[in-house]
Structure formats: structure tokens, C-alpha cells
Amino acid sequence: MKARKRVVTSADVRAGAKAAKPARGADKPKRTPTVRTIRSAIVAVDRSARSGSGRPRVETGRTAVADRGTPLAARPTLAEREALDRIDLSVELAPQRGLRLPNPIMVASGTFGYGVEYGEVVDVQRLGAICCKGTTLRPRAGNPPPRVTETPGGMLNSIGLQNPGVDAVIEKYGPVWQGWKVPVIVNVAGESIEDYVEVVRRLDGVPGVAGIELNISCPNVGKGGLQFAIDRDAARAVTAAVRRATDLPLLVKLSPNVADVRPIARAIEEAGADAITAINTLSGLAVSADRTRAFLGNTYGGLSGPAIKPVALRIVYEVAQVVSIPIVGIGGVTSLADVLDFMACGAVAVQVGTAIFADPELPVRLGDELRAECLRRGLSSYAPLVGTALPKRAGAPSVKGAEYRP
């Protein structure tokens, strides 16, 4: 018989991570205030104080997904398990309003539906948070098919914000989300500032809605969408308008389809966003097999997957140097190494998207692996892993000639 399917265990993580990265936890270079603020988003709470109403930890029959099928000897011992449980992975994404995630591994909008679709194969309660499919004021039928295609190291999609509208989402999924311990963040899209405000107003106060992620960067809709993410003043206006309409924790998702993302990030922070998600997909195109037209029904699509990870890292790296609110990194996360890369560039949490399609259990497993990594490094939380790659002084911009001067 051949070898069993390879399953990542904490032991593998240790060996792999040691080879890949020299330990750098010991010597902490001085950080700029910016970075310190980012780190402070991760709240280290004394375990004894937490025991009562602490971070939501859900024990189920599938606590050790990573252990499935591994030989007994490779599984963590009881002592190791206790040590793992002591590690605090919780993160506060909206320090002023309260959006505490049990762990920093979220699932990205558009890749996990409304959280129920994968319910039969994924223990959604063990995720850090769920960002649901982009929700608009009125129902949207989306773009003509075909809507997805694979590309080297990634995929293109042009769903076009198909969704049943905010009222139907609240009615159908609100009660489900209310029963969950995992925070559900509703991704909101619109064609005008009034649309955004109205959707958010209707979501305000709905039980089960833990926060809002403003999608001002969808590349797949004709009107609205992207226009708010490529213009600093438009981004500021929509963020400020939504901020006035709700006290819900507010994340704003940046587009990479701009020359310089930093002024936009600054504007969003100034307008009152609690956190920034970076990045949405990159605009792209695929050609039909007979080369007579574009493959996708919408012509253009958004590129996601490992192919865009360097772009996402660059943007997180740049944004982390100009804002002090927490950053959620997203773009091509498929492994713990990717998670650690994003954290090193200043992200306090990450979202997993495209990789879920191939490996639905990945987000839950990454949480387990991050915990094991902290144990290996002797950390009680992952805070020291955040921002380690950021420059001590403001780094050179990636775009020459577009330097932002406030």
C-alpha cells in the first residue's frame, strides 16, 4: 500500500517552520508608534480572568481536524494540548466598538456564502469570523455566465454581486447567525452612498450581525463599486456616511486597482473606519478557447488566489505604515507561512478565500497551526509576530511620483 494522505500535524508545522524561518521572537527591535498601535489590537488577557465570559471557544467532536488520520504518536500529548489551549489567539478588530474574534483566521466574502453552505463539511464555529457574500439594498441577479475560470496560480471571478438583497439576507440568515458563536461580518456593497447607508441602517441592531465590511472595491459591477475605492474623497465620503449611520464595527475593504493605496487608506481611517481589509481582487481578463472573445460573460473578472499574494503583501505593508487601525490581510493565503507573512507585514488578522474551494477545512486548520506555531516559539499570543517585517522608518513607496503628502 502507498503512504497515507499527507495531513499537516503540529509536528510537521514545527519542522517546516523551523526550516523556513529563523527564530526572531527573542530580540524585539524598537517599533514606530504605528506598529505598536497595531499590535495593541491583539489583547492579551489573563486566562483566569477569561474563564467565565472569555473568548468563545467551541468544543465539538472535531476539535483536532489537523489530527485526522495521523498516527497516535504524532498527535499532541495531553500536556501539549493544555499548553496549546493556554495560547490566546483572540484579536480585537474594533477596539472602540468591540469586535473580538476568537482567532485571526477569517473567511473571505464571496467564498463562503452565508456560512451555511459549507456547514456539512466545515465546523464554522471554529473560524475567527465569517465575512458573508456582498449584500446590496435590492436583490441583484449578478453577471451573465460563465463567471469563474482558473488561471495560473489563481482564478478569475465576475459574479457581479448576485445576492437576494439586504432584507432577505436578514430574514433568512439573521436567526442562523444569532445562534452562532462565530462573529458574522456582513459585506455591504452599493451603487451610491445612499445605498450603502440604507443597507447599513437596516443591518444596525440585527442580532447576529457582528460588524460591517464595506465593499467599495468590487471590480465586477458597472456602476458604483470600484469608483469609491479609487478616489480618496469618495472613499472618505462613503466611509464617513456609513460611520454616521451605525455604531457597528466597520471594516473597509481596499482595492489594489489603484496607483497608490496609502492616501485612500488614510482617508478611510480618518473617516472613522475601525479596521481596513486589504485587498480585494485585481481586475483581470481571460480569453475564450477559440480566441474570438473574452471568456467571462462580464469580460473582466477579479483575480484571486496565490497569484496575487505578493501584491496583497505589498499593499498591507504600505498601509500598515500610514494607518494605526488594525489591518486584515487577504490575498492568496493557502498555508501558515502565508498567514505569518501577512502578519509580518502588519496584518493582525487574515482572510482565507480562494483556497477554501480546494480545501474547505483549511481556515480551521490554519487556526490550529497558528496555535502550534505560537507554542513552538514560546509565545502566549501571536502579537509579537505582527509587524516584524515593517521598516523602522517609513519605507520607500512602491509608486514613485505618487508620494502622499498629508
Binding site: 456564502g113 463539511v121 449578478g142 483556497a355 474551494f357
Partner: protein, 287 residues
Amino acid sequence: MTMRLVSAELVETRQILPGQWIQSFHAPELAAGSRAGQFVHVRTGDYSGLVLRRPFSINTADPATGIVTLHFRTVGRGTEWLTRAREGDRLDMLGPLGRPFEVDPRSRHLLLIAGGMGMAGIRMLADEAVQGGRQIVILFGAQRASHVYPSSLLPDEVEYVVATDDGSLGHHGFVTELVPGYEAWADQAFACGPHAMLKRLAALAAGRRDRLGVAKLGRKKGGGRQDPMGSTAARRKAFLQVSMEQTMGCAVGACLGCTVIGVDGPLRVCREGPVFAAEEIAWESIA
């Protein structure tokens, strides 16, 4: 059976036609819980830079032996990777997914229509129908004789009629041209193949009642009550059911990538389909 992640062991690979393969996997959970028309989402090797799984119709499933087979054509890197898998390799499959064909219990004569790789979509229905004691005709269309599915791989009880585009075997022309000869005989028809073929079949099916002069029978009382479109009951009463294909992302209904346009709006091939009653599809949207 609800969907689950299954580790399926490859037990046999064989090339049945140039570029076409049938692979057998030992996956007892899938073999026991699947119905004709459903599909699996197969993960290819991570190291090859392929980020999406590949959906395949379940070609056959034998609960007694725990064997499921997949029939596919090599069209790209994913399927090429599959052909290089060896006996004993374990593949990660998500399934069974989608909704199956719904055969009316009163139907005795089933017409199965397949175009090219569409055979993989209806093959398992032939097995189920034979077990149910039904009579089956399979109409099969291919480009030329060398692409015709071998009759030796079909159950003996099946009547197998072939059409080729170039006339090198069987009827010279499209498989849809054979259908009128069987429409009076058939109680129900089930089809899988290129969308253009399905569109033509849907047009034929729509005019069938009038051509045959079939009276609208049924209970007088409560006769106005109709099953909602897309429901299992409505599909069971439909004359033509089609298995649709679309490029797919998640295959569980989360990403909304695999839609086709239905008369009431977009339909997810992975959740509402892949089998639809012909009336559910907005055929004018299909080229």
C-alpha cells in the same frame, strides 16, 4: 446522503477512447450514498499550481463493492494530472453534490440522450433504470466513430443508437435528429451534453404534447395546484430533464460562480442542478 470530504483510493485507470479515461475509486461512502446525476468535486495536486477542484459526474457507483467510477476527457492540466495518478493513490473528493435525476415512478420507457462527454452525466441513470425494470434507449452523438462510447461498457438491457457528425458510424448528423422517432415511445427523457444540444432538445420537448395530441390528464379536483418550479415533485413530472455544465468554483453553493440563467433568475448548477427540468432554464440566454 449529505456531502462530505472523502479520501478515495484509485484502483484502476483505463483509457477507453483516445483522450478519454475511466478511473475507478474505492470510496464506499460515495458508492452507497450517490444517485444518478450527482457529481463529485475532485482536488488535484496542490503542487501543480491548480487552485480549483474539478467537478465530475459520477459515472457509475456500486454500493456492493464500494467502487465509483469517473469518466473524463483530458482537456487541461487538471485532467492530465488525474491521468497520471496511480493505483493506490488517494484523491480528495467532495461529494456527492447536486441534485439527481428524478424519474417518475410511473415511467416505463426512458429516453437517455448524450452528446460526447455527456455520456458521463447519464451513464449511472442507465444502471438505476435497469435495476428498476425500465426500458431504456440511449441516443448518443459524437463527432466521429473514433469518439463513440463503447457499447461494451453499457448494460446489456440498453438499446444504443449512435449518430456521428461525419456519418462514420450510425446516423449521419446530430443526435437530436433521432429524437422525434422516440418521442412517442418515451415517457420521460434525460439528457446531458453541449448546451446547444440541450437547447434543441428543450425546443423539441416543448412542442411534443401538441405533436402527439396528448390530452392534459389529471385529477379535476385540485387540478389547479402546481408543484413549485424546481421542486423535486415538479421535476419528476417533467418530460425532459437536462444535466447542465458550467465552470465551477466551490461546488457547494457559496461562490455563485456556476450559474446558468433560469426563467426566474440565476440558478446554481452545483445546488439547484446540475439536473434541471427543461422548463426551468431560460434557453434564449444560451448561445
